[in-house]
């Protein structure tokens, strides 16, 4: 368990997490903009799986290439399983 996360940026290589901005849970597909049910939007915006273990999440390499990534991190052990450019990981609504 490292006191500094080493995030594997697909463009820049492994970098300290202090170069990145955290962007939250990437496991929640955004509802369709045509969706009018308030509960669907409430659940999307306000509810979190908050898993103790594997978690897919957004990070932006603000002090590097400024690209958005999807990183898989274990929230209990802080192990990083890998990362992909967010544009490739994007899920359709």
């Amino acid at each position: 368990m490292s006191p500094m996360l080493l995030l594997p940026c697909p463009y820049c290589g492994p970098r300290d997490h202090s170069e990145f901005r955290y962007g939250g849970d990437a496991g929640k597909p955004r509802p369709s903009l045509a969706e009018t049910d308030r509960t669907v939007w409430h659940d999307h915006v306000f509810l979190f799986d908050n898993p103790k273990g594997a978690h897919k999440e957004y990070w932006q390499h603000v002090l590097g290439c400024r690209r958005w990534l999807v990183v898989e991190r274990n929230t209990l052990t802080q192990e990083i399983a890998g990362s992909t450019p967010a544009r490739d990981a994007r899920t359709a609504p």
Binding site: P3, Y22, G23, H42, V45
Partner: protein, 419 residues
């Protein structure tokens, strides 16, 4: 329960202090109770105490996965205060502070409540106006608050940087004299002992592994020590609320985050108050009776269950400390640790019923769990016993994000990356 008193102390001194009775029993779990509290932290124990003391419910079990005092109740920076100004927060935290004031007598256990005063610093005119507004709202609600000019702050806190080069110039402060600190583990032990004296059973090393269901009703829990039945099951496991609620099929507006705290080597008395600043980043400071400076800052900024913090936060907090108190640059850190806390989108907690009958929720404490302990237990006990929220905790409902009734007091939450 044998009462603690000066006489008892003298009597036990004569027998070499080896005849003190256990502070609470260690019973085997029964097959059923009138209420089960999941989590033997400060909030769970306080809830058990007020269930017995205020509502006459004594067939109550507190199930603790580890041992009493092993969780966040023994891992915080021990600050108590009631400088809140939004919606239901003001009355709730003031009720808590009033309970703190008499807690040692109520529990017959010295919780070392020390009303040394909390000084919130203003570093710019906007911040000073903000503190004036906060103080005025507190005073309108009958809570003590004093606005201090820069010269008065310098008299109270001479160790801060008042020079022209100061990174964070000090314009003034808001002082709440009744705020201060209390001894955190004494709070857990005091509530445990007082609840036990009413007949509440505190069952340590008993992990809840599932909820027993009958349709939309929780009828008890599965534990590492067998099934236990009850028509009322109450969760109080802040830090791990999502994980326990998941066992009941609930998905919550909660993320778990690591919050770090720091203790320096002991020095002679220097910091006589609790000091808070929002200048560079969030920073709060007090000095323990042993002499160590206790301080902390923001959460690390990404959800985590690892009870260990990241170095960038250590650096930010240390920079805040040295920028405000130049003398702190000579201090060495003695200890530093990370605790896991529930963060909610608006930075306010939940004390409420859930959509499942017989299942109650207390969690989402976001930095402020310790100071809330007495009022949290007091109102949660009411909610469990009467099956309805008390006026003081009606604002802490689970549906407030859906109804637009968020309580965003300090602009904090799990979304630090959006702030």
């Amino acid at each position: 329960m044998s009462r603690y008193s000066a006489l008892a102390l003298a009597r036990n001194a004569l027998s070499g202090h080896d005849r003190w009775p256990r502070a609470w029993r260690s019973p085997e779990p029964r097959s059923n109770y009138d209420a089960i509290i999941v989590g033997g932290g400060g909030h769970g124990l306080a809830t058990a105490y007020y269930l017995a003391a205020n509502h006459g419910m004594t067939r109550v079990a507190v199930l603790e996965k580890g041992y009493i005092g092993s969780g966040n109740v023994g891992r915080n920076t021990t600050i108590v205060r009631s400088d809140y100004m939004i919606g239901g927060n003001t009355a709730f935290f003031e009720h808590s502070l009033k309970l703190w004031e008499g807690l040692s007598q109520t529990l017959n256990f010295n919780v070392m409540y020390s009303p040394r005063g909390k000084v919130a610093l203003a570093h710019d005119p906007g911040g000073f106006d903000g503190l004036a507004r906060r103080g005025n709202i507190m005073r309108l609600n009958g809570i003590d608050a004093e606005l201090l000019e820069r010269a008065e702050v310098e008299k109270l806190l001479p160790y801060l940087d008042y020079s022209k080069q100061a990174r964070f110039p000090i314009l003034g402060a808001l002082l709440q004299r009744r705020a201060g600190t209390a001894r955190h583990d004494a709070v857990a032990w005091g509530y445990a002992r007082a609840a036990d004296a009413f007949g509440v059973e505190i069952i340590e090393n008993c992990e809840v592994t599932g909820f027993l269901r009958d349709g939309n009703r929780v009828t008890g829990v599965e534990t590492s020590r067998g099934k236990i039945l009850s028509s009322k099951t109450a969760i109080a496991v802040a830090g791990h609320t999502s994980d326990v609620a998941r066992l009941a099929g609930l998905r919550l507006p909660v993320e778990s985050h690591v919050l770090q705290a720091f203790v320096s080597e002991p020095i002679k008395p220097m910091v006589h108050h609790v000091v808070g600043s929002g200048a560079g980043d969030l920073f709060y400071l007090s000095q323990s009776d042993k002499g160590g400076l206790i301080f902390g800052g923001h959460i690390d900024g990404f959800n985590s269950y690892a009870q260990r913090g990241a170095l960038p936060t250590v650096r930010t907090v240390a920079e805040c400390a040295v920028a405000l108190i130049p003398a702190a640059s000579r201090l060495r850190l003695l200890r530093h640790w990370g605790g896991i806390q529930d963060m909610t989108p608006d930075g306010s907690p939940f004390i409420c019923r859930t959509q499942i009958t017989g299942l109650y929720l207390n969690g989402g404490w976001c930095y402020q769990g310790f100071k809330a302990t007495p009022a949290s237990g007091w109102t949660y006990a009411h909610t469990i016993a009467k099956d309805e929220e008390h006026e003081l905790n009606r604002c802490y409902s689970l549906d407030r994000f859906e109804t637009g009734a968020e309580l965003d007091e300090f602009g904090i939450g799990n979304w630090t990356y959006k702030q």
